[in-house]
């Protein structure tokens, strides 16, 4: 599943199209596997980059004229796709448009480190983010480069699904270039365990309840949940709210900063439903000390100690590396079921539409930064991500999917997102950090039984009100 360094370019299609001219440079750098081959898009890319350089030189707010090309620092979130990103960086560094230094920041500290860095003189030129609320404060403070003009011209024009680009737009301006696959939250389950106890797939509420009762009776944890991290628990609240009252409930919370959105009865119903699940033991009895980030919760699913897990699509790649046999032959995946009496659509999706690179407005080398984010639109990067188990958000992804490993999971995920009437960004990312992080803590308190539903609602009202 990982990108193999010895294999030039990674993508099987890109090899015949490699440009011989790139070879000497590649050899000089003595990389195993030689030069990174470029597809046809290389030419288009060069033209596009030249255009963008012209644009950067013309705009008064841009870098310092001739200093537009140079070495830039790029912050990324360290995980199992970092090596793919490093490959695209290496390839970009050979194009002569500047040098990119990829700095991989450990996942759980990413937001804090970025915030600290952005307030210092050591700010990154380009940085990874989740769109939405994660870049809102920077956009409001005028700290981001408006990418709208670049999305109106090649190579970015039409390169990505519009809904994905929109998830990183603020006030009608585009601020982020998608740089990784989509990450909808999916209900994963162990098909072998379901077969063993003659259970239906948990795609209806009734089937899910039957599964919970059966697994509990056989000492299998129904749902693996990394409750110690808080955000995995938030996924439950997100889906329950959507299924009970549709996406408008959370849209109102995001849209009104006075905190009044939390008082919707749908939120209270969702909290009560979550409470019912906790009390009936759907998450086992030690989920409050189980963590996702140290791989404990995924290991419960992968090793058959738990039967299901509600988690972002990235967990599939995780299972593939830690429990390959389980992931390949026994892991099932489905939409979150409808909740009885709810008005939401069972096809709605929550999660992260994608991850993005945004450009710091105070970068000294805007030319290089723009050229780098535009470079991500090329198909060789898309193919490397696909080969690594990610479902990219490029316009042509669906046509490429069948050529890549685990097409069943890839196509399920792509269809799920494509057919979804709404794709709600994870709440803690959609809300500004000053509300999103306290929300995670509050969800942790609720799942640990420390606050009631009414207290949760009033706490969140106060938090959002005082943060605005």
């Amino acid at each position: 599943m990982r990108f193999i360094p010895g294999k030039p370019g990674g993508g099987p299609l890109s090899r015949p199209l490699s440009r011989p001219a790139a070879q000497p440079r590649g050899r000089r750098r003595a990389r195993p596997g030689g030069a990174h081959p470029f597809g046809r898009s290389f030419i288009a890319l060069t033209v596009g980059a030249a255009l963008s350089l012209g644009a950067a030189a013309c705009s008064s707010s841009g870098g310092s004229g001739t200093g537009s090309i140079g070495t830039i620092n790029v912050y990324t979130y360290a995980d199992n796709s970092t090596n793919i990103q490093q490959e695209v960086v290496n390839a970009f560094n050979k194009t002569g448009k500047g040098t990119v230094k990829l700095i991989d920041v450990t996942g759980s500290d990413y937001t804090n480190k970025l915030r600290s860095a952005m307030t210092s003189s050591e700010a990154p030129d380009v940085f990874f983010n989740w769109g939405g609320g994660s870049i809102l404060p920077y956009a409001q403070a005028g700290r981001l480069v408006d990418l709208t003009p670049y999305f109106d011209q090649a190579p970015l024009k039409g390169a990505f699904l519009p809904s994905i680009v929109n998830a990183a737009s603020i006030g009608g301006k585009d601020y982020g270039v998608p740089m990784r696959g989509m990450q909808p939250v999916i209900l994963f389950y162990n098909k072998a365990l379901f077969a063993q106890y003659n259970l239906q797939a948990p795609d209806t509420w009734a089937a899910m309840q039957t599964a919970i009762t059966t697994f509990k009776a056989h000492n299998v944890i129904p749902f693996a949940l990394g409750g110690a991290d808080n955000w995995p628990s938030l996924m439950w609240l997100e889906y329950l709210t959507d299924r009970i009252g549709g996406p408008s409930v959370f849209n109102k919370i995001v849209g009104t900063s006075d905190g009044s959105g939390w008082s919707s009865p749908v939120i209270t119903t969702a909290l009560n439903d979550a409470k019912t699940l906790i009390d009936e033991g759907a998450f086992g009895s030690s989920f409050t000390s189980t963590s996702y980030t140290n791989n404990a919760a995924p290991a419960l699913l992968g090793s058959g100690k738990a039967a299901m897990q509600l988690m972002g699509s990235w967990d599939y790649a995780n299972q593939l590396s830690n429990y390959p046999d389980f992931a390949k032959s026994q892991e099932g995946f489905t939409d979150f079921p409808n909740v009885p009496g709810g008005t939401g659509n069972a096809a709605d999706v929550v999660g992260n539409p994608a991850n993005y690179y945004s450009i710091n407005a105070s970068t000294k080398y805007k030319g290089t930064a723009i050229a780098f984010v535009e470079y991500l639109a090329q198909s060789s990067y898309e193919k490397e991500l696909l080969a690594g188990g990610w479902i990219t958000t490029n316009s042509n992804t669906s046509s490429l999917l069948p050529q890549f490993p685990n097409p069943a999971f890839g196509e399920f995920q792509f269809d799920m997102v494509q057919k979804a009437p709404s794709f709600t960004l994870s709440w803690d990312q959609a809300l500004p950090t000053t509300v999103g992080n306290p929300l995670d803590t509050e969800v942790g308190k609720f799942f640990a039984g420390q606050v009631s539903a009414a207290q949760f609602v009033s706490d969140m009202e106060n938090t959002q009100k005082s943060a605005s």
């Binding site: 937001t111 804090n112 915030r115 600290s116 952005m118 307030t119 404060p137 920077y138 403070a141 700290r143 409750g227 110690a228 808080n230 086992g284 009895s285 030690s286 989920f287 409050t288 000390s289 189980t290 140290n294 404990a296 290991a299 419960l300 100690k305 950090t433 000053t434 992080n437 306290p438 803590t441 942790g444 308190k445 609720f446 799942f447 640990a448 420390q450 606050v451 005082s466 943060a467």
Partner: protein, 314 residues
């Protein structure tokens, strides 16, 4: 600049407090300059800046801070989370003291005797202190994992069904006390060892002649003679537990929910997770005031400030 007056300095010395020559002057202020500058630059200036930030409302670190009035301070005194964190910090401090002091004292006194096997054992007891506290914490976190750690086996006998120690409010607090104490007890043992070694042998010989047993010797000689050692160790322990951060950050991350949000952890979360530097600065300033008052009180009520010798039988 005060000129040192040797004669006055010598006159103020208590008789019998050493046979040093009278030409020992008080150091000039200039001697303290490097230390004072260092302290000013890295402690006083940031402290003053955080006092300033505590009046900047909910400043988030982007843009320049603006004075917004006392909203952070009024919130501080009405915030139920801060009240909970204060109670928790006090609980953590008291429990750590109660757990560590008797063990460290007994171990220290035991190790003070000059036997080779005791020297070897004290060297072994000392090991936790030289380990990285991050490593210790992560090790215990792995041990306390309810599904894959020892907690699954050890939890039920001590009342935590399914090994959910870190996932319950009380269990998480006990875990913090235990892990913190495990790490710092050797240090306090060392302090007590040093204290016990400085007690003159004659006291015990005299007591033996009077027929005092081991327990009586400990009660009537060792304990009173260790009074200042107890103060030193306690001040360090109280300040250390009250401001403990990395242990909480790594072992429980404040969880479950906010059960282990101590004052220092609440300050961190407000600053670097919720990005409300104004409120975090108010909390930080309050923490400095509380710790300073606590140190002064402890020093005052234990007679540590007067620096009288324990050897004069007073």
């Amino acid at each position: 600049m005060t000129l040192a007056v040797p004669s006055r300095a010598a006159a103020s010395r208590r008789p019998g407090a050493g046979a040093s020559p009278s030409r020992v002057g008080r150091p000039r202020l200039a001697w303290a300059l490097p230390g004072v500058l260092f302290f000013a630059l890295f402690a006083l200036v940031p402290m003053a800046y955080s006092v300033y930030l505590s009046f900047t409302g909910n400043w988030g670190g982007i843009g320049s801070p603006q004075i917004q009035g006392t909203s952070d301070w009024s919130r501080l005194f009405s915030d139920s989370n801060v009240r909970q964190a204060t109670v928790l910090s006090v609980e953590l401090t008291v429990l750590s003291w109660v757990f560590q002091t008797p063990i460290a004292m007994l171990l220290g006194v035991w190790a003070a005797a000059k036997h080779r096997n005791r020297a070897i054992l004290s060297a072994i007891f000392f090991i936790p202190l030289v380990l990285s506290s991050t490593a210790i914490t992560l090790l215990f976190k792995a041990l306390l994992d309810p599904n894959f750690g020892l907690a699954k086996t050890l939890g039920p006998p001590i009342g935590f069904a399914n090994g959910n120690i870190l996932g319950t409010a009380h269990g998480a607090l006990f875990a913090l006390v235990f892990v913190g104490s495990w790490q710092w007890m050797p240090f306090h043992t060392l302090i007590y060892q040093g204290g016990a070694r400085s007690i003159p042998e004659q006291f015990y010989q005299a007591a033996q002649i009077d027929g005092a047993g081991r327990v009586q010797q400990f009660r009537h000689i060792t304990l009173p003679q260790l009074r200042h050692t107890i103060t030193t160790s306690s001040v360090l322990m109280v300040i250390g537990s009250f401001t403990a951060f990395e242990l909480i950050f790594l072992l429980t991350n404040g969880g479950p929910g906010n059960s282990t949000f101590t004052l220092s952890f609440t300050m961190y979360e407000n600053a670097f997770s919720y990005f409300n530097f104004g409120y975090a600065s108010a909390l930080g300033t309050a923490l400095v005031v509380i710790c300073t008052i606590a140190s002064i009180l402890m020093v005052k009520f234990t007679g540590f400030g007067s620096m009288r010798s324990t050897r004069e039988g007073d």
